[in-house]
Amino acid sequence: MIIKNVVQILRELRKQKLRTVLTLFGIFWGTTSVILLLSFGMAVKARTSETMHGMGEQICIIWAGRTSISYGGFPKGRNLNFYNGDARYLKDNVPLIGDISPQYTRSLPANVGAKKQSFLVSAVWPEFKEMRNMIPREGSRFISPIDEEKRRRVVFIGNDVEKTMFGNKDAVGKIIYIDGIPFTVVGVLIEKQQDSDYSGRDKDAIYMPTSTYLAIYGDRFINNMVARARDINQTDAMKKAIIAAMAKKYRFSPEDEQALPIWDTTEMDQFLNTFFNGFTIFLGIVGVMTLIVGGIGIANIMYVIVEERTSEIGVKRAIGAKKRLILVHYLIETFVIASVGSISGFLFSLLLIFGINQAPLEDFVGVLKVNPTISIASILIISTITFVAGWGPAKRASNLDPVVAING
């Protein structure tokens, strides 16, 4: 009986092409826009988070500044410097610090064969890798504790340095001359998204062990330090402790905000988290609104369908159709429209997403991904709305008084 009913419904749907097509299109478009909207939003969110974390997650970059308060007999306006042992001193005296690394920086000429170019060279500890997301390409590595200990002449280079100096060849294991001194390349940075930096992009830089660097150049001052709290929720406390420790050593006021400028990326994280939570809620609301509008459209169309077919329903009742049959008929009709519409909408959105991903928009919106949970949820929600929207009119249709319906 149900199968015959479905056959008949499909027949009726086919015969009322325009109406069916319009209804289908409404649901189709609703599904497509919701899925697109949500994947778009999530792609932007993921993209922003990814590029922001290209520099590193929840880290503090610390510079030596200039005092702005006179303290302990020193006038204000005194320039401060970090000396070689300061990173070690902080690590020993501030237990809240999880990782810390000094960073020495110089612009130095490099050459490979006849190719010559200057690069920013940084000397750092192995801990730098985790803090600053220095992810080595497969088959290569960052500077190791043993390199540091043995003062090895090894470097880790940015992916653009490799491209410039080695062309398309793999640089790992090759020699690069820096300031005329040969270094072995042990690692190359993977291609990563980075939209913030403090001394050039990582892809354009060269990294070497501090021991090697100091043996060659003998710097007295550290350019800056990078630190990360043991517990990221303690970042604020760690900053205070670092300032206090340095204030004690270099005799400046712990209240002096300009003596030790610290760039805390967690602050940006917190802002972006708040922003994107709002953004996600906004997208969710827009999505739900779209679905509700779609549902109202469906309810409207179903209402009109029942309205314009009252006499038909009356005739069917007169020639022996039971109430349940009329109800099931309209529900199946709604169901067929809802499922065909939402599934084709889903497939179309996949196609659109594929198309959008081919366009050169990656830097702005990232790569659109279809989240299966959200897709299934959207399809279920729009189907449910369609079904609920169709239920009232279907129920009304089945309860029509056949006499009134025939005369109507």
């Binding site: 005739v315 009742r317 007169a318 020639i319 039971k322």
Partner: protein, 220 residues
């Protein structure tokens, strides 16, 4: 076959109660061809709806084939309409998007008749009403007389015990009307029981029994 005893029907329209039928008694035997005539508002359509089990009387007893209608529920009434009664309406009431064949097939679908048997029945009945070459035509491709033939075929397809026709010639020109009346007569001669509501005076010439209804009561 049909036994109406003191049938009353009251419509409540808010403040005023309208008494459409005020105690109708009617007896129709198997093989009868009965014409019910009466002015508009006399209650003849109400009578037709009650006889067709589309509506229940407010009071009185209605027996169809010895079965009391009052105690049946909606599902049972639907089955009864499907099996026992064939309706023919003044304005045909065909489904506009379905072909003649599909329109006639519908009662069989509701009755759950299998595919092969359905095809046989629909084709033979359409042949019988003279529409063998019009099976795939939709109502808007058929003349008024042809539409009514499709409706009659639909009424007949489930072998009902009684055919109820409500002004079947009301929307037809006189030639088509005569043809339809002749079709009803031939069906009657085959042994079908027919109750026809009409105000066509010529209808009397075709039928054996005329019932006049005025103000909700039968005048005999």
């Amino acid at each position: 076959m049909i036994k109406l005893e003191n049938i009353r029907k009251v419509y409540s329209t808010g403040k005023v109660d309208v008494e459409a039928l005020r105690g109708v008694n009617l007896h129709i035997k198997k093989g009868d061809f009965v014409t019910v005539i009466g002015p508009s508002g006399s209650g003849k359509s109400t009578l037709m709806h009650i006889m067709g089990c589309l509506d229940k009387p407010t009071a009185g007893r209605y027996q169809l084939n010895g079965q009391n209608i009052q105690h049946l529920n909606d599902n049972q009434l639907s089955e009864l309409r499907n099996r026992e009664i064939g309706f023919v309406f003044q304005n045909f009431n065909l489904l506009p998007y379905a072909s003649a064949y599909e329109n006639v097939e519908m009662p069989l679908l509701f009755a759950g008749v299998g595919g092969k048997k359905r095809k046989e029945k629909v084709e033979s009945i359409l042949k019988k009403v003279g529409l063998a070459d019009r099976m795939d035509h939709r109502p808007n491709e058929l003349s008024g007389g042809q539409k009514q033939r499709v409706a009659i075929a639909r009424a007949l397809v489930n072998d009902p015990n009684i055919i109820l026709a409500d002004e079947p010639t009301g929307n037809l020109d006189s030639t088509s009307g005569r043809e339809i009346m002749e079709l009803f007569v031939s069906l009657w001669e085959e042994g079908h029981t027919i109750v026809m509501i009409t105000h066509d005076p010529r209808a009397k010439d075709y039928t054996e029994k005329v019932v006049t209804i005025i103000d909700g009561l039968i005048e005999s």
